[in-house]
Amino acid sequence: MPSKLLLYAWYGVLILLVISGIYYLHAYYYEYEAWETKDIIPWGLLVPSYVYFALASTGSSIINSLYTVFGYKGPNEGFEKIIKHGVWFSLITIIPAWTMIILDLGRPDHFLSMLTSFNIVSRIAWMGVLYSFFFLMLLIELVYFIRSEVNEKLKHWKALELAIAILVLFATIAVHSNLGEVFGSSTGVPAWYGPHVGAYFIASAVLIGSAWQLFFVSIVYKAKGGLSENLKEFFVKVYNKIFIIGIPVLAFFVIWNLIVAYYYPPAWEAYKHLLYGEFSKEFIIVEVIIGLIVTFIVAVYSYIKKNFLLTFINSIILIIVGYISKFDFIISGEIARLSFNYGGLTNNLNPYYVRFWPFDYDIGLPEKMMLVLAVSIWLILLTLGEQILPLERGEKPKKLFVFK
């Protein structure tokens, strides 16, 4: 563990951020002069951030299933060692996603209508149900893993372990399909419209989830002083392989998105923002050159050279690029919206452009504060879990009654 002081400082800063976030947002909500851009960019900063955390959580869960469902232990039984950390990460990372999507609601005081007036055909309505199911299944899986350390019968009850793992995987896929559909069926945003968005999200999720898992678990072991050579070798061999397969798959979907958009002018409007507009630097340099080409080369190089440090740095790059690319994809789609042909002359003119042109999306302070709040809560929980829960292989539960 790092020195106690460092840990207290870490908690102190995070708690301070949470308190100031709550105070600011309460004061702001009370005044409520906000959301003036909600109709132009109805899904601002918090939605891409929510998607990002949902992808990190589900992506990490897909990686976990390599061990839990398919029984792949990896070199030096690495997965067996880290699996509880992986499940904990997936479980707790869905919390910021939840927090953000709830904070993004303009009228949280009407939230009860989600229950009393549930629309069975609405993907958004199902999101709450599916995330709860996903969360519950992950919780059961974590409790199972922890309890089986003290219960021999449970430890050898492989059918139960597999059943839980399959349910977790099922929940992961359900959550993903639904998320893909939320965007893919957005008739008002051509750049998102279509089944390719779901596939693009899954490919991103695997990369973001695995990169986060590698980063998080390495930090935890480093902090606890147990990042052994065996574990490093496991990370280098397995996670680089995931990157080497995952990056070209993601590149394929990025190209697919581009091709689909190219043949549909209203969707191409969004790609104009990405290729030549205000997002072009981020798209071409960050997402394509760094996020797809450089990371791929580094993954191949560090796999061949068995270089852990490079693998670790690569995971940080993937984590950052993953966020930027989701933000740009979602926001550029909203800025572009739709265009129509006017009198045989192809125009940018569309109801949104006419209403709001020229228009830039400025991220408001409340949105930033909500993001800070959600991320701080997440980091507190993540650290607390690592301190309190018995997440090491063979570690017996001491502190929490439920695991005894």
């Binding site: 899904w43 609405s122 958004i124 129509f340 002359l345 003119l349």
Partner: protein, 269 residues
Amino acid sequence: MARYAMVIDIDRCLGCQACVAACIAENLNSDASELEFQPKQPFSVLSGLLGIPKEQVPPAEYFVKKAVEESDKYIDVDPEKAKTVAQEVVSKLWTRTEVFRIVGGKYPHVELMLYHRICQHCDNAPCVTVCPTHASFQREDGIVLVDPNKCILCGSCVTACPYAARQVNLLTKTIDKCTFCAHRVDKGLLPACVETCPAHVRIFGDLDDPNSEVSQIVKRHKAVPGTPHGPIRHTAARVYYLPSSNYIVDVEKVEEEKEKEAKLMTDQS
């Protein structure tokens, strides 16, 4: 059952914005406020628990206050601009319908069009499908409405609407859109914008009634749903546009024919 629709004859439009003004006058602070779906102003749950009261501002007062606040910034420097800003604020605050002047192409191939943005009351409305709380719903007569008391302002209907017909009502902080003036239609009146238009650009009626003016126009002329260039998605839009400059509504003739047909029907029965 009636199936309401609207026809917009763009070529007749003067761009006078009387429809926009009528919509504001009718819906902002009139008997529409007696509607069953009168929204409450937002109130923080936390403030409620702490017992902090929130002042409820009457709609018109709020709008005026906002307009004055914004235009005050320019009043000393540029009084003309202050006036425009005040107008802009009001139209930004109330945008159930708008009329835009769209200039397309490059000189000498320039085209001008007045585009009416309004909810299409789609038969296959994606905004209704995506709404998680049934706040957006469709009446049997096809009018799509929002119950602001159920709206959680998730924004998904905004991303679902291909016609940019939805916006946040800055006063109620819930989603707002054209209601086809349901409160008037229920009383047998025409929507305010239709009644006000001096050039008979907006024509409203029942598509299920073969004698109605909208049925006649949709049947006889090439009225296209959605936009003057056709629908954007397959949402079965029910606002039709008459884009052709060859077409001029001969109201008297339509009336004559309607009468003839009605007479025929009575004779037959």
